[in-house]
Symmetry: C2
Subunit: 296 residues, 2 copies
Amino acid sequence: MSNILNIAMASVAREIDAHFDALLAVPDDGRRRLYEAMRHAAIGGGKRLRPLLVCAAADLFAVDRDCALRVGTAIEAIHCYSLIHDDLPAMDDDDLRRGKPTVHKAFDEATAILAGDAFQALAFEILADEATHSDPFVRSELVAGLARAAGASGMVGGQALDIAAPGSEQDEKSVTRLQHLKTGALIAFSVEAGAILGRLAPEGRLKLRSFAQDVGLAFQIADDLLDAEGDADTVGKAVGKDADAGKATLLSLLGADRARAQATMLVDQALARLNSYGAEADLLRAIAVYSISRSH
Amino acid sequence: MSNILNIAMASVAREIDAHFDALLAVPDDGRRRLYEAMRHAAIGGGKRLRPLLVCAAADLFAVDRDCALRVGTAIEAIHCYSLIHDDLPAMDDDDLRRGKPTVHKAFDEATAILAGDAFQALAFEILADEATHSDPFVRSELVAGLARAAGASGMVGGQALDIAAPGSEQDEKSVTRLQHLKTGALIAFSVEAGAILGRLAPEGRLKLRSFAQDVGLAFQIADDLLDAEGDADTVGKAVGKDADAGKATLLSLLGADRARAQATMLVDQALARLNSYGAEADLLRAIAVYSISRSH
């Protein structure tokens, strides 16, 4: 991993932990278990890729770092909720996440459902807070963008596609679309959020969204490869589940070699989209390269 | 039911149905089942108490009705999500809601979880939309208020209290607090939203919030009485569940006579909070009176 990325990732991870620690102070009442479940899910784990993307995109426009981190915390709250709900028995039924028991295992199913629900509300509460940005127009744009990325036309829609179609009926196009919704929408919004904070007009945000979609898909292919070839101890969650579930992935459709080539092509394409930027985009470039070189 | 309320309730119910019908057009892809589940939950049922409260409060300030209805739709989306998730096997495990099978019964658990999640995102998407209000400050205030009312310091927090405390440890004060969070927060925000649309300053909204808290608690006591004394056909959901689950309610703590007196006192108190308003508050008054006179 490049040095610039190493430093940025460590400091974003530390700062996001600190934000969640402050936001999730455990109350001295019957909600204790809910808050403890939320802390279990949100603190001390995860690559914080989405907050990192917000900060890296915000760097392009010299946006105040505190604003970018608050927006990153909001997006990470949505990511946390989606992981908690995805892991539920009725969904992927996973016992392990980021090397720890999943929330419904460490606590219980009802608490896991509620913790996910509370994280979604928290995300929008953060974005609508004056502390995140003084301009209500910017706050409103952030809320609109995150709501679209998270809902039925974004992440949740992708989940629905995922459980709807048997692997046998999927082709490269439909799997790509599924991934664009399921994970791409939130990743694309992470980069777009930096541009919204930088007051870039909607048409100017398109190239950055495309950059993020490419990186998101490359990341997903790398995840598929890790799922197929990694071991649970390194990856920090159960592996081999996609194949066991008969799920079509770009890996299963293309084979390892073509999938790897596709990921490399996506990263090259992503880098080209940053051509008009100078050194201020170096962190974004480093994230793009990192997306396919991870071991976990 | 008074005539003014009868007419207002019917027209709000029709308009909310029309909004959901337009928002939830079923896409021709693998998300079909998700959207059908959302339509099942959102269209053609429910009293639409919360949207009615938004419209009634908006009447005090001559707010554009379309704005009020859009905000009412957003709040009803949150209400729909909470009902879908509450009914899940890991939560209240209910088979019947508004006289129809619950979403996880009519569809499946995974779809019910996703439908609830999508409704929450939809709510914030509606509020952040320029079509809801042209002033981004108003939109941002609405998002902040709804997020607080829905999250861990509001509705979800109330749910957590509800599953945390065994009935034997509850007293009148703790049950009242639980209800203020679990159902009162969203009802209070419904009235407050009308005031936000009317650009009433935060300090001016307090009396209207208190009005709504009183009505919400009176409504809850009436619900408890229906749960204990009604039959499932009239009420449209399973009855007698609170007693079976050993849950403490104001009814179980106070007994039927004192609970009824408490509800009447709350409605009188609510009405007094509207003393400074004239005929423009008649619909709010009618809702307050109706809250304890329902048979379902």
